[in-house]
Subunit: 352 residues, 3 copies
């Protein structure tokens, strides 16, 4: 683990409203206001239209050669802060480069002019210690004028990342931690109680391997939103135990005739993202549920973590602490062994 900084995975255990509270730092119009900070989980969004949000983000060096984005100096993290806006909003990001290397920020899913592309191709990056403003716009779906056809809006489970460090495609920045989640909501969408961001970046999740991968927590019955992102060069399949979702924009069926397949695993390959909402423990109860990459060599070498569904009152369900303890003593076999038998040892085979 020494090449990966001990940057707080706790920030991944995200309460939606605390994210919004964090995100409001430096905002002209606080996001928490536009999203309705007092709204209970399960409420629907009725934000005002076309807000311009101005934030400052910092790119900073982290230990062990890593890099991170943060909303305040000294607060860079991997992944970077989750950004949320509504369709129609504009996000104006003043990116302060606190490093002596070339970096940028490139979003998926939103509108930007060539000046905000974040690519060296368009000379859109921050040189060493430079500050640069990137503007991301969003929009609602609109009729094409051809029958029932609409051009898509911006709502989606997106992400942002460096596109300039190391190579013209940001391969260095990605390998070192410059990525984060971006959610664009459609008005009327159901709001979650909690949002989790899992970035599968080559053989790591949020730059960690088991048992140091994030433990995401919710109480039984809470509305939980997952945003899964991938970077690097490898094939991944994101699987969540005991929960499933519709393979569409939200994870919910849009009425009984929605033809979307129901899935509990989805391909998650470099540069891609998807998201969905589920009710924590619905139909299965509380417990320590695993999420992991289902590529066997990846799960075996540490691309796995725990989704802890507590009891509805927040207390620990029977067996969950034992499962967590077992996970932290987890031995990751590097190769399947036909003679394998149940193990109860607590050694950290290759995590020390």
């Amino acid at each position: 683990m020494d090449k990966h900084a001990q940057t707080g995975w706790l920030q991944n255990l995200v309460n939606r409203r605390s994210v919004l509270a964090t995100a409001t730092v430096g905002l002209a119009v606080p996001a928490a206001m536009t999203l309705g900070a007092a709204a209970p989980g399960g409420s629907t969004a009725q934000a005002q239209t076309g807000v311009v949000k101005k934030i400052t983000m910092y790119v900073e060096d982290l230990p062990n050669g890593l890099l991170g984005y943060g909303l305040e100096p000294g607060k860079a993290s991997i992944p970077g802060p989750l950004l949320e806006i509504y369709e129609g909003d504009t996000l104006e990001i003043t990116l302060v480069n606190k490093t002596d290397e070339r970096v940028s920020i490139h979003p998926h899913g939103v509108d930007y002019s060539v000046e905000s592309d974040g690519s060296p191709l368009n000379a859109s990056f921050n040189g060493p210690n430079e500050t640069r403003v990137y503007t991301w716009r969003s929009r609602e779906m609109a009729s094409t004028g051809h029958g029932r056809l609409y051009t898509p809006g911006s709502a989606g489970y997106w992400h942002y990342h460096d596109h300039a460090n190391g190579t013209d495609h940001g391969t260095g920045g990605l390998a070192r931690g410059l990525y984060g989640g971006l959610i664009v909501r459609r008005r009327g969408d159901v709001l979650p109680d909690r949002t989790f961001v899992a970035v599968l970046n080559d053989q790591f999740i949020n730059h960690k391997k088991a048992p140091d991968t994030p433990m995401f927590e919710a109480n039984l019955g809470q509305r939980v939103e997952w945003l899964a992102i991938a970077h690097g060069t490898s094939l991944h399949t994101f699987h969540l135990h005991a929960h499933r979702w519709a393979d569409n924009r939200t994870g919910y069926l849009e009425g009984p005739a929605d033809p979307s397949p129901i899935i509990d695993i989805k391909d998650l390959n470099p540069g891609s993202s998807f998201g969905f909402q589920v009710i924590a423990g619905q139909g299965v109860g509380p417990g320590a549920w695993m999420y992991h990459c289902h590529v066997q060599s990846h799960s075996d070498t540490g691309m796995a973590g725990i989704f802890l569904v507590r009891n509805a009152d927040g207390s620990m369900p029977p067996g969950a602490q034992e499962a967590i303890d077992r996970f932290h003593g987890h031995v990751h076999a590097s190769a399947p062994s036909a003679a394998d038998t149940p193990r109860t040892d607590e050694s950290h085979a290759h995590h020390n």
Copy 2:
């Protein structure tokens, strides 16, 4: 082929009703009854609600170090038996471990408590020669109370597999044959005449390479259901010649406005599954049609098989036997050769 047992691929050539007949062994309420054994292909399902089915499954050693699931002692196969239920049903599986290794059974798509997770994380596995009960529940879609949104039901083309042998993720069990298909039907779904299960597990299909891969058979016009599953570590793309389907829950369009793409190939990566129905030979006629992984190095080294569409009366169509003979004499080049010319030799280049 010596590392892969000669376990009967014939079981893959599955007539739906014979599967149900097999599956009824040990059932409190025979599946064939609940699905309507006399129903003709193309009928729709009108099963009773919320049946509890109790079955016993056995994990057994197979030749060459392989393992299999079976519904009776001595009947283990690779893949294991196809399990079918309806949304709302519960499947209670008494898993008898006839081996001296740790094994389990972990399903995709259905509901289970932590005790039935099948993972070492939750201490849910069979130790050597142990018997353990796993309970899988299912449910129908239900309104969320938010506008038109529904939480998904359990209907889908799923699968089950070991999650405890070799590693905590079942990598040993998967490599050795512990996997099978699981279909959860929605009431009202069209029933197929035949169901085929193809598991792409690293470089094998149902643990075989061409020309020993399963030959799936149907008569022209029969309603054929495919369940495709993947395991291991490799990228796959499942392609079926001369047939195509909607990329949604069933393979049929749900009315003329269903926006699903129509496809004849689909990514099939580790831990994933999908299914669809087609009418055998519709629009193209009978013949020996190929199904294969479209990753070139995979098809070239044996990830291919034949879907034999016979004439409507079950007789052999012109040219089909010749194609089958050709396939069995198929030379799989290990590398493309620019100087390649037509071959009629019958040698088994690397299958002997």
Copy 3:
């Protein structure tokens, strides 16, 4: 670049109507007539039903051991010509093999008898210097008679390729350039102003690496159609900067309740294809926008190109020529470097 012929990438910069004009060579009923040659971009298709189109295609040797399909002798290209038909049409292709090797043509998405399968399995190929006729049919969706279910029609963003050269799966033919696009339109579909075909074949796009990859061009506001195809053995994710589409049959939402996710990147793995329409520069303005494989090692080694969105009047937008010049002087780092800094050199690191 010496192993890849200098076959005109300009043919990839396709104006729909010029494609149709080209495609009419040898047609019994000119395609341009059936599609309405005078129709403005954005019109919808009202072609007559069930046309039989007869074309002759040639397989020819190209420099450096490559092979290509063409609609006239001496005109073979990589990719081969884009073929377009309407649901209900039949395409009768007389394939003239001008090489002394075994080749064939195998389509995705359309109907064909075993004689037109294009596979050695069905003895469906051209021997050296042989001519053979392949017939592809198509059809509209049709009710199954079961509730609202329809069997799919043929409309889609498909492709064709060799299935006989090098190996029985055409691995040699694919590696050497024998592939092309096939679009089957549904009556009523919106017609594009321009169609671009991008084939990701192992580490190449249309058999080129950056900066020699195709530059696709359109004017701001034009309706642009992308057909993306993959071959070979590698994982790919196709990403287009500053544009996004619905992940469904057309790229447009089919009304406000269409549940399709909105995406700007999609997995594109061997044998697969997808397509979509976007309005060039909508919401983002003109400029040199990148399209690339988002697998970092692939974009870094040349799987990237430019989508040039000109001003509405066809003039060059500010900064675009500089971006193009920068791209042609692009240094593709073969490995990320933490110490990387902005570069302005014009050297061709590994393209000379």
